[in-house]
Symmetry: C2
Subunit: 355 residues, 2 copies
């Protein structure tokens, strides 16, 4: 059995008994039942993931998958492909959005070259290049099936190592010019949703560029005819290496019972892919923010998850995750630190007079 098969088949359901116990404790806290809303739901979800009612976040890590997309040569992005490599280095240097937000969240950042179309030597970069960017999916499959599985396994292995190192809250991010196109193609391939509803303008694109982007994505889908019942077929034909790597992270986090956060549209496309491989991963995923990219909301509805941050962000890199980390930590403090009605000291000496 391959690593990929082993992990996919080894994902277990959440621990319903612990979820029930967590829910009971939350209902016994000194507050109206359910009044802490999503904070309570997250605390329950963590109990299901770890099997413990009282959880503590010890080490946090953002995983940023960097890869190039062959579709770029069709002009689907306002940015040149070289930005993938440049911005990957900026993240490593601590200068990018995800660097600043991770530092604030006391989260480490691991940057993985899973398929950048350039050879980069920079301290800290995790070199796991599967290939020098994907092929142009409007002319044929983006990658082979073997490459798609290898990229997923890369994500699986990276999460395995992080869990071994004691990280117990993970986030998923990416850097890859053109990856809103691959994410849109994956979403359309799986759901058949209309292109107009899911394809966004990306960063700084003209109206003409936008129309061209849509027709190129549709061309790639028509040419490759991905089979929506075969997730690896969808991924290899119209996906990307960054998305594959993140999908591997989601599968691995579920396998190792570790909470993992979804960022925006690209990260959500990877979550959708992992969900199509094994729907149980949903129980281990925590969404963060409503991306300004239109396809994002469709994916969340499809998986059945609801983001809790509405920050009008559309940067990518994983930037929604460190903000969500703080809220996930807050949920642990609710269930760990608040008193229950039973625990209250009923000695009311301090009250001289209640009328």
């Amino acid at each position: 059995m391959s690593l990929f098969e082993e992990v996919c088949k080894g994902i277990r359901p959440p621990d319903y008994e612990s979820m029930e116990k967590a829910s009971k404790r939350l209902d016994s806290l000194i507050k109206p039942i359910g009044s802490l809303g999503e904070l309570e739901q997250i605390a329950i979800k963590l109990a299901g993931i770890t099997g413990a009612i009282h959880n503590e976040i010890n080490r946090k890590c953002m995983i940023v998958m960097s890869a190039d997309n062959g579709i770029c040569e069709e002009g689907v992005s306002a940015c040149p492909q070289s930005i993938t490599a440049l911005q990957t280095v900026n993240i490593l240097k601590g200068l990018a959005g995800i660097s600043a937000l991770s530092k604030h969240a006391k989260s480490d950042v691991k940057v993985v070259d899973i398929g950048i179309n350039a050879n980069i030597n920079y301290s800290g970069l995790i070199k796991r290049k599967v290939r020098m960017g994907t092929a142009n999916m409007s002319k044929g499959p983006a990658m082979s099936r073997d490459e798609a599985v290898k990229a997923i396994e890369t994500g699986i292995e990276i999460v395995k190592e992080l869990v071994k190192e004691g990280y117990n809250l993970l986030g998923t991010g990416e850097m890859g010019i053109g990856n809103t196109s691959t994410s849109s193609a994956i979403l359309i391939a799986f759901t058949g949703i209309e292109a107009d509803k899911v394809i966004g303008k990306g960063a700084g694109m003209t109206d003409e560029g936008y129309e061209a982007k849509k027709s190129i994505i549709m061309k790639a889908l028509e040419l490759n005819k991905p089979d929506k019942n075969d997730a690896i077929d969808v991924l290899s034909k119209v996906g990307g290496l960054d998305i594959a790597g993140m999908a591997g992270c989601f599968l691995s986090a579920a396998y190792y019972r570790t909470p993992i956060v979804i960022d925006g549209f690209i990260s959500a496309a990877a979550a959708l892919l992992a969900y199509k491989i094994n729907p149980l991963v949903k129980e281990y995923m925590i969404p963060s923010h409503i991306s300004a990219e239109p396809g994002y909301t469709y994916i969340m509805e499809h998986i059945g998850l609801k983001p809790f941050l509405d920050l009008n962000m559309r940067l990518g890199e994983g930037t929604g995750c460190p903000i969500a980390f703080n809220i996930i930590e807050a949920s642990t403090h609710i269930i760990n630190d608040m008193a229950t009605f039973d625990e209250l000291d009923i000695n009311n000496d301090f009250l001289v007079d209640i009328r």
Copy 2:
């Protein structure tokens, strides 16, 4: 000139020049323009408040105003009035929701007895009781004009002291059984909106209790006829001492150019009141979460603010604020720690080969 008048008249517009400079810096950072959404808007707002482009949050404080409401004797709440006193002590003991969330956010909590209907002796409680709870507004004005102004001035003074102590990010919370009724009455008095649209069920109320709550609130409004063009008239007739105190905090924070966060419905009602006294306060307020209480959204639309957390919370006590504190701090890290395109090292030696 009274303290109240001095503060109301002394509130200045935000520093538009600094906002413009902050906006320019944000546009020059290594990310697509505007792609960090609300984080950028908050950073710009902070620049307008403090006059500095680079801000740092040094000390954070939650201010919890505790007071009782005479309307409680009409059975508008599922809880007995004594819960106000008990829960105030639980907050001081560190056992309540706001205690756990503030500790997580590294925020202090100051609890003010501004009108609890009981005499409480407990370490840390700030004793500024204006009266032993308000009168029953369904039988007459909740309080006198002088008491309303005194309660506002209490909030003004508390923020003044906190600013002097070096706190530079504040949050507003409350504890007061019956205060969704007073908040609803204030909102209806100012906007004329239909009762059905704004009055919520509160915590654990029956359908019958809900209908009774609505008719009692409408009775109070019909009897007292608050003048919507006179905020102190509205406050004194159908408001509460907790709301008055928080309104004073908002006015004072604007006067001392310090960012202050709105929690849920009650805190928003106080924000609306402050906004009616001087609309400039809006420039110093930062919303946090969309409260599950129906009236909340109407207030935000009226003031023209947009919350960024959607956590389905309805606990009160200020619990949305510490979560927002982290996001506000995140906004400072964006503008302080990210690189601009100009600052980038354009030495690309690390790139062996960009194809």
